[in-house]
């Protein structure tokens, strides 16, 4: 689905991995007409100074997002479970390496 009103191609989101082992981070978006062009445009726009060793491009309309209005109910299941954090447990100071 091309939601653009213009003739500038589909909107893609660009994710960069700086080095292997590191997470992919969202860099921004670009316009392109196919996968190959999307990769090239992402490279030219977001990696002019060694910002990445791998680039992902994803058509923006393929990304599914939670909505800010749902922030309360959506994340509620995790909000009252403080026992999931290590600081919930009291361990004597004498105990090391824990």
């Amino acid at each position: 689905m091309n939601t653009n009103k213009d003739n500038q191609g589909t909107l893609w989101e660009v994710f960069l991995q700086k080095k292997s082992g590191q997470p992919f981070i969202h860099a921004g978006s670009i316009h392109a007409f196919d996968k190959e062009m999307a990769l090239q445009n992402a490279r030219d726009t977001y990696t002019r100074r060694g910002e990445a060793t791998v680039v992902w491009v994803v058509p923006s309309h393929c990304i599914v997002s939670s909505t800010p209005e749902d922030i309360g109910s959506f994340f509620d299941p995790a909000n009252d479970k403080i026992y999931r954090h290590p600081t919930f447990y009291n361990i004597p100071d004498a105990i090391k390496n824990m």
Binding site: M1, D6, Q8, A27, G28, I30, D34, M37, T45
Partner: protein, 314 residues
């Protein structure tokens, strides 16, 4: 469903807590319109800003200078793209923004309506124009709209090289032959006041300032940024033996800043309204480039249509 008043309260609270507004968040229509205007005009400035410098790529005095200038102009194109993308998250299409630029409805920074007459002008643009842009953009890194802030952080990382390469050009000329030094001084003389205008009209006459500050789009006023720029730049000129073309320039110990002559605001409004030395040339160059790229966009669209079945994108 929340009422408009409740949504507005949530929005105001986020601003008060220094939180960012993201594309899917509710925002007042005036905030959206203010951002569309500001971000798209910022994008246009990056793109039109490629023209005065592009003028010197084929005439750069050395291969090194040419490589540097090419890289800088390429960056400006990239900066335009980051900003167009940020503006698009507000619901305006790239085509609509370009249309507004080409019909003269949207403005771009009036600094680019001045000509680049000598090689020293390339130095002056990097040092002064990019210096002023950085001052503004460092502030905008903390602007309240998330995508704009992220684009600014990326741009600021890259922009520092622009200012340094400009200062290096000025330094080389200023420390060169008397003719070269004169060329550098002449460029400073011509670019000083237009650069001071870049921060926008005085706070007392700035139509958009109050909203911009209220919504934390801007965090400092035009006059504050202009003063900061003068304080920072005067010693840089003195260091290479150039003279800022202002007889009234004087250090003011009390305010810990320079007193200086404001630019000619009549000239500023004249250039904004289209009557600068290069307005027509810049706009017609942009329109020509866009029209000459039409067949590329048409071919790409035809290709995408033909192959739409095998592509995930359609």
């Amino acid at each position: 469903m929340k009422s408009e008043k409740e949504l507005e309260e949530i929005f105001e609270k986020k601003l008060a807590n220094n939180e960012f507004i993201e594309p899917k968040d509710w925002m007042p229509e005036k905030y959206r319109q203010h951002l569309i205007r500001q971000i798209s005009q910022h994008a246009h400035s990056e793109v039109v800003g490629m023209l005065p410098e592009g003028n010197w790529i084929t005439r750069a005095p050395s291969l090194r200078a040419k490589l540097v200038l090419l890289a800088k102009v390429q960056d400006e194109g990239g900066h335009g793209l980051y900003l167009y993308s940020a503006a698009e998250t507000l619901g305006i299409s790239r085509e609509e923004m370009l249309e507004a630029l080409h019909t003269g409805k949207a403005k771009y920074s009036s600094i680019f309506n001045y000509p680049t007459l000598t090689w020293a002008d390339i130095g002056a643009i990097g040092w002064l124009v990019d210096g002023a842009a950085i001052m503004n953009q460092v502030m905008l890194q903390r602007t309240s709209y998330g995508p704009y802030s992220r684009a600014m952080i990326r741009i600021c990382k890259e922009e520092s090289f622009h200012q340094r390469q400009g200062y290096e050009i000025m330094m080389r000329l200023a420390l060169g032959t008397p003719e070269q030094k004169q060329m550098a001084q002449d460029a400073l003389n011509r670019w000083w006041y237009p650069t001071l205008m870049m921060f926008g009209p005085p706070d007392s006459e700035s139509p958009h300032s109050a909203d911009a500050i209220k919504w934390r789009i801007k965090r400092e006023t035009n006059d504050q940024l202009r003063q900061k720029f003068v304080n920072q730049t005067v010693p840089q000129a003195e260091f290479i033996g150039l003279k800022v073309p202002d007889p009234n320039l004087k250090w003011n110990e009390e305010k810990k800043g320079y007193d200086f002559t404001p630019p000619d605001w009549n000239e500023f409004w004249r250039v904004i309204k289209g009557d600068g030395p290069c307005n027509k040339e810049r706009l017609s160059a942009r329109i020509k480039a866009h029209q000459e790229g039409q067949w590329v966009r048409d071919a790409a669209a035809a290709y995408a249509k033909k192959h739409s079945k095998e592509m995930i994108v359609s």
